[in-house]
């Protein structure tokens, strides 16, 4: 099945609000994800990301606002909508009582997929996930990366139009993360639409065609990653390290940089042109520093602040 308007919105969220007790965790959130996009949803812990996803899946009712997923109104037709959606949850919840293949079979039955379709699809999914040799392995024998890949394969058992990934690579080593990213790129090239939440800025920068940063339940920015960075952050960054960083920052750095932030023993200097900064630093013996282009992490920190959220 294809939605009524190919190229249109696969997910449309308008004016979403959700309150728990006295605090409103989602405060009037609106965004649209178009067909074929990889949309990154970024925000610190407690920003309202997971609540938003749960509302989209129809697992909790919003207090206000409208949601339309794969062309169907949620929560009213959430069950029908979920038939065409795949979900990779934040926490691994593969079925430990089953083998790799059985996990896919059993999950496929929740979608009422017939046996013939399943037995055609499962080997291809195992191949895709790099788990063909593990078909009969019990879940507890899999590494963290394998479990995540199987979870991704499980989310594809219904050949969904739309994939929701909640922190798909948290806790994985770099090799395992790259494998997941390759898989996701493959899915995007097949025309799938993806909604991704993540804490890894490099992940968002690599995969997302468009990003939204949310904090305290409201959207504070939304655009393609490079555009967002260009719009909000000076293009060049010099990081100055060590005991001397603060002294140097107060004596010279603040005067030369357009914007300077101290975090622990590091001074982050933001500038349109880093040459004056670099020239000054070259005369300071014993000061260590790094010159790099601005990235998504700079943007994220600028928009959401440096203090911890737990």
């Amino acid at each position: 099945m294809t939605p009524a308007d190919p190229g249109g919105a696969v997910l449309r969220v308008a004016g979403l609000r959700k309150r728990y007790g006295g605090t409103e965790v989602v405060r009037g959130l609106s965004f649209e994800i178009r067909r074929g996009e990889c949309f990154g949803l970024l925000g610190p812990n407690g920003a309202g990301k997971t609540t938003t996803l749960r509302c989209c899946l129809g697992l909790i009712d919003p207090d206000d606002g409208e949601i339309e997923m794969v062309g169907l109104p949620v929560p009213r037709a959430a069950r029908e909508a979920r038939i065409r959606v795949g979900v990779v949850p934040q926490m691994d919840n593969l079925d430990p009582d089953f083998t790799v293949t059985e996990n896919l079979e059993v999950y496929g039955r929740y979608f009422a997929i017939d046996r013939a379709t399943l037995s055609g699809r499962i080997p291809r999914l195992l191949e895709f996930a790099g788990l063909a040799s593990k078909a009969k392995a019990p879940i507890r024998s899999l590494s963290g990366g394998m479990k995540r890949r199987l979870t991704l394969a499980r989310a594809l058992i219904n050949d969904p139009d739309f994939l929701i990934l909640d922190e798909p690579t948290t806790g994985l080593d770099p090799q395992a993360r790259h494998l997941i990213w390759d898989g996701l790129r493959q899915l995007l090239s097949q025309g799938k639409t993806i909604l991704l939440t993540t804490h890894f800025m490099d992940e968002a920068e690599r995969l997302a065609t468009r990003l939204a940063v949310i904090d305290h339940g409201v959207m504070i920015a939304s655009a393609p990653p490079r555009e967002l960075i260009a719009r909000h952050v000076e293009p060049e960054v010099v990081e100055v390290y060590g005991d001397e960083a603060k002294v140097w920052a107060d004596a010279h750095g603040r005067r030369i940089a357009r914007r300077l932030e101290l975090a622990g023993e590091t001074a982050f200097c933001y500038a349109d042109d880093a040459k004056p900064l670099l020239a000054d630093l070259a005369t300071r013996a014993g000061v260590r520093y790094l010159h790099r282009p601005a990235n998504l992490e700079d943007l994220f920190i600028k928009l959401t602040g440096r203090e911890l959220r737990d």
């Binding site: 009712d61 069950r79 949850p89 919840n93 089953f98 039955r109």
Partner: protein, 260 residues
């Protein structure tokens, strides 16, 4: 999900979740059945023959058969409660299996229904196992005895729902101990498993009349003797009422716990 108190919104997709539990059970079926029946079997044979030699016939049947019929109902109660507490709690809270399932087009109401029916299905299995032992040693050789299987299912629904209430409330496995102390033990001792309820003082006998297990036993014993029980409707009504109210309470608790 409109409200935690809404009418159950279930679909036939619950069968796929029931089947999931069945497939897991099938992997360990033998151990599971042995575990279910070993305890009641030892009690039935040891007490049945030991005490049976002292008391002879009770309610027109040999004590082994009398006790065995009580054990059939008791084991349905135990099996369903265990499944709906320890096993369902593992799936809900430890393995997060329910979370995975409700991302598919299966509602939480379907999952709870599946767990409920599954706990009762296991109760039927243990009912059957103990009935077979009774048949093997020469008791209950009447077609009427087959009615004890659906009765075991009802008892399973009743106590499976109680178990799911505990699961909906439990912070950890330890919490289930309350159920054993406060519900199961009095239920066992007052429902006429070991001796006829009318042996009890009037006050306690009145309490017994309010317990679903005593109504199940009141139906099972005549069936075992090959007689049609008296007051079938009243007995069934009590069990069904307990089962339905407890199911609804369990559903509300689980919704409030998971759909937040």
């Amino acid at each position: 999900m409109a409200s935690a108190y809404a009418v159950p919104e279930v679909s036939l997709r619950f069968v796929s979740v029931w089947r999931r539990n069945f497939l897991v059970w099938r992997k360990l079926a033998l151990a599971s059945v042995l575990g279910n029946i070993a305890d009641p079997l030892f009690y039935m044979l040891a007490l049945g023959f030991g005490i049976g030699a002292l008391v002879g016939e009770v309610q027109g049947m040999p004590y082994v058969a009398f006790l065995g019929t009580g054990m059939v109902c008791q084991s349905a109660m135990f099996t369903a409660s265990f499944e709906a507490m320890y096993s369902a709690f593992s799936r809900m809270h430890v393995q997060r299996t329910w979370d995975a399932i409700i991302n598919a087009p299966v509602s939480l109401d379907d999952v709870v229904l599946a767990e409920w029916v599954w706990s009762a299905s296991k109760a039927v299995l243990s009912t059957l196992a103990i009935l077979l032992v009774l048949l093997a040693i020469g008791y209950g050789r009447t077609w009427l005895v087959l009615w004890i299987l659906p009765l075991g299912f009802l008892v399973g629904l009743c106590f499976g729902a109680f178990g799911l209430i505990m699961t909906g409330l439990a912070p950890s496995y330890d919490f289930f101990t309350y159920f054993f102390t406060l519900v199961m033990t009095p239920m066992l001792l007052l429902s006429g498993v070991y001796f006829p309820v009318d042996q009890l003082p009037a006050a306690l006998a009145a309490v017994a009349q309010a317990l679903p297990l005593s109504h199940a036993i009141a139906l099972a014993r005549p069936l075992m003797r090959g007689e049609v029980p008296a007051a079938i409707a009243q007995h069934l009504l009590v069990i069904v009422a307990f089962a339905s109210v407890a199911y609804y309470v369990a559903l509300v608790l689980v919704r409030r716990r998971l759909l937040r």
